[in-house]
């Protein structure tokens, strides 16, 4: 009974779920030679051709999947070598990264013929098995065969050219000393970073390392590109080792694009240990360190003439003037305390940078998020600084920071000088970011000690003029006298600040879509108005200050909330023929919007019929790619594409079906949501 049950069970399984056949990949066996001599090595190729959107796996599948296997059934005297795998594609979907082939993969295998093979025809057979995936995964298998004549001469087969082409897709042997691998610090008990240093003789874009499968360890898929050093490409990857020893070497391929073509180099890199006390993040050199510290000092010096520090210089001038009447010894001591104030503030900043750096190593792709927040935050901050310089509102730290700092500095000696130093630093921040971005960027890749030193030297640069002037009071006579001009000067300084806002706003556009960009700009205007209400009616107002404060905050809150929720829009990518082909090859339909900022119909179509909730849902459902061709400025490629569809100008919205051989669907110039929905439904079949 039990056996019968099992039989029935097996039959049921065979008939239902597991009967799905692998109909999406075809396998064939090709030989480079039709006739070969005993002793030859003949290159065999197992060619896998996948349906659009389907993929098979590399020797290391990555997070999932598994390699294609070839089980040879060869006549005596012929032995098969290892599979030579073409360079795969790194494919990430829903946070899972795999190494795969789309469309076609030709696996090469050298077949060694024994020297004593008898002449005559031979039949070579193999069973090929693979996993093929798209939305679902299926197991695929095929028996393949090819015939080879053993004779007195070697004769290329008609497939030889295909095999030659396939050989070009194999990773090349890496020249000695092309690359090295070094241990970086551990980020967890079972995870350690490795730095790859790669000296490429030509410019390589999108460099990466694809690992072979490790024994008891796994090279994680994310790759962090570090700044190049002396023309060497540097990549950081994590190695995870749940059990056993750390690997001694890493095998895999270095990949990248050279002159637009994908290339790969096979490497086996022993992992070197960085000298103790140093991380491999940047090769240590005293010269490089001194140069960068010199630059940091210079940067600090320049900060003194930066607009946001200049008002502080005035502050300092006030205290110079006062202190010049005092004993030189006291003024000198105060100048050193002031320098200490700057130094301590910069050490706090350094601490922050180190904290971010350390946190970044735990979750390295979190940095991107922070970058966005950082840029948006800086834009808002600098807008406020500009408005403050214009006198729209005051910074009130106990009745005006300037006068407070001034009186603190004047009245209470050492603590005042210290506070002056801190204030100089705080006000310098909006300038520090743009002016010292490269220094900070450099600092991120450095060990904490170097970051500390860098910030120390910026601080020393910022403090230097003050200290020098105090120690040589004779130079003081060159300093201008304070007066009414300072108020005008302050307002004048607001304009360079506004320019900085524009620069930061431009940077923030990288993180925002079109609608978000608009609303972030409007938010900045609302921020200005809120600041004005605050300054005019709360700080300087006679009555009803509470109402004014509420109004100011309500305005900020309302526009802020509205702006912050403008993030649902369609994520457009730039149109190109290649992008359309790629998406269709992955089995995705494509919606292309050829548009221009000056084309009103285009904007109306977008807001009423394309970027609307229903269409967005449909786009997500059919996994459509959304590409935008911007014809705002003359563009020959787009012009040609418009002509191809019989249009002279935009609007043109085209939906390309997921099946690459199906005809594109051209939508009418004036759209309704239903038209787009219908086209998408048809395109996803």
């Amino acid at each position: 009974m039990k056996t019968l049950g099992r039989l029935l069970f097996a039959a049921l399984l065979a008939s239902s779920t597991f009967a799905a056949s692998a109909a999406h990949t075809r396998a064939t066996l090709l030989l480079a030679a039709s006739t070969a001599q005993p002793g030859d090595t003949v290159l065999a190729a197992v060619r896998l051709q996948m349906d659009p959107g389907w993929h098979t796996y590399w020797r290391n599948g990555g997070d999932s999947g598994g390699p294609t296997t070839i089980q040879w059934d060869l006549p005596p005297g012929i032995t098969a070598g290892e599979i030579q795998w073409p360079t795969p594609e790194k494919f990430t979907l829903e946070g899972l990264t795999t190494y795969v082939y789309h469309n076609e993969a030709t696996l090469l295998v050298p077949l060694k013929l024994a020297a004593d093979l008898k002449p005559g025809p031979l039949e070579l057979k193999a069973k090929v098995a693979w996993l093929e995936c798209e939305e679902q995964c299926f197991k695929g298998a095929a028996s393949v065969h090819a015939s080879l004549q053993i004779g007195g001469e070697t004769q290329a087969s008609p497939n030889a050219t295909k095999i030659e082409a396939a050989k070009k897709k194999l990773p090349e042997a890496a020249p000695a000393a092309m690359a090295r691998a070094l241990w970086d610090k551990a980020s967890a008990a079972d995870t350690r970073s490795v730095i790859f240093e790669w000296s490429a003789d030509k410019a390589v874009t999108d460099p990466d390392f694809l690992p072979y499968t490790g024994d008891h360890f796994d090279v994680q898929s994310p790759t962090e590109r570090l700044p190049d050093v002396d023309g060497r490409i540097r990549l950081r990857k994590d190695v995870k080792k749940p059990e056993g020893d750390w690997p001694k070497q890493l095998r895999g391929i270095l990949t990248g694009k050279v002159d637009g073509a994908s290339r790969g180099w096979e490497v086996a890199l022993p992992i070197e240990t960085a000298p103790p006390g140093k991380t491999a993040s940047a090769p240590f050199s005293l010269g490089a360190l001194l140069t960068s510290l010199g630059l940091a000092f210079l940067g600090g010096l320049i900060l003194n003439v930066m607009p946001c520090v200049l008002p502080v210089i005035a502050l300092k001038i006030f205290s110079f003037v006062k202190q010049s009447g005092e004993a030189p010894g006291r003024a000198r001591r105060l100048s050193l305390v002031y320098a200490l104030g700057i130094l301590v503030s910069f050490l706090v900043l350094a601490g922050f940078v180190i904290a971010v750096q350390q946190a970044g190593q735990v979750a390295s792709w979190g940095m991107q998020m922070q970058n966005r927040n950082f840029v948006l935050g800086m834009t808002i901050l600098v807008t406020l600084v500009a408005l403050n310089l214009f006198g729209v509102f005051e910074i009130t730290l106990a009745g005006g920071a300037m006068s407070a700092a001034d009186s603190l500095a004047g009245k209470s000696g050492a603590p005042g000088a210290f506070f002056n130093g801190v204030l100089a630093t705080v006000l310098a921040i909006p300038c520090t970011a743009p002016a010292l971005a490269s220094a900070v960027g450099f600092a991120f890749t450095q060990p904490p000690l170097v970051i500390l030193l860098t910030f120390c030297f910026i601080a020393l640069g910022l403090a230097a003029p003050y200290v020098v002037l105090t120690w040589n009071p004779a130079l003081l006579k060159f300093l201008p006298k304070p007066g009414a001009w300072m108020q005008r000067f302050k307002i004048a300084l607001g304009f360079p600040m506004l320019a900085t806002v524009i620069w930061l706003y431009k940077l923030s556009l990288n993180h925002l879509n079109k609608s978000q960009s608009l609303w972030f700009g409007i938010f900045l205007v609302a921020l200005g108005m809120a600041a004005w209400i605050w300054g005019e009616f709360v700080q300087r107002g006679a009555g009803r200050r509470g109402v004014a404060a509420l109004l100011s905050l309500a305005l900020l809150g309302a526009v802020g909330t509205y702006a912050a929720t403008r993030n649902e829009g369609i994520k457009w990518e730039r149109w190109s023929q290649a992008a359309v082909d790629k998406a269709r090859a992955e089995g995705r339909p494509v919606l292309v919007d050829f548009t221009a900022d000056w084309c009103l119909t285009c904007q109306v179509n977008l807001t009423t019929s394309i970027d609307v909730a229903k269409v967005r849902e449909k786009l997500a459902e059919v996994k459509a790619a959304t590409l935008v061709g911007d014809y705002t400025l003359e563009d020959a490629t787009i012009g040609k594409e418009l002509h191809r569809f019989g249009r002279d100008a935009v609007p043109l919205v085209v939906v390309f079906p997921r099946n690459p051989s199906a005809e594109p669907i051209v939508l009418p110039p004036v759209l309704r949501p239903q038209l787009v929905l219908d086209a998408l439904a048809k395109a996803s079949q």
């Binding site: 399984l13 779920t17 799905a20 939305e135 979750a363 909330t561």
Partner: protein, 197 residues
Amino acid sequence: MKRMLTLFTLLAAAATVFAAAEIGKPAPDFTATDILGKTHKLADYKGKIVVLESYNLDCPYCANHFKSGAMQELQAELTAKGVVWLLVNSVNPKNSSHRSIDAAQKEWTAQHLKATAWLDDSSGTIGKAYGMKTTPHMFVIAKDGTLAYQGAIDDRAASDGDPRTARNYVREAVTALEAGRKPAVTQTKSYGCGVKY
């Protein structure tokens, strides 16, 4: 603006959660409904060993464990010892491998599944909280609620042949935990098809 900042903090937090299941740390708690409508809360199973299995029968790797009957045998063996075995199906409803409640109930009977329950995780919440990468991907949670094992079901990454010949890490982990020991192997690389989130 603040909302935007909050949103991004949340996103960043969610991203960290994706790989939050760590050996020796408390396993992420969850509440989920099974295909019979019953609610399961991980915290309620404190005092019992819990096995989580990411499941998708359309995946050839997963299917091989069921086709051979090996997985059902292991489920029966462990649940008989009082282990709670939860199938976690995180297939997105838009994927053709998704099972409606009705289809899932039929599959449960047809495959003679011997797990405690089949959890509907079509939102991917549990899968992402645990960092489930493949089907199958196994998690063994000790009686005190800490994660004791995560990774492959066995040391035989294949979609055919008999899984019974392999070294089964889940059985090993459960046996060790029952004897009051830490499993000899606590982490391996899971194998199978990617989870269809």
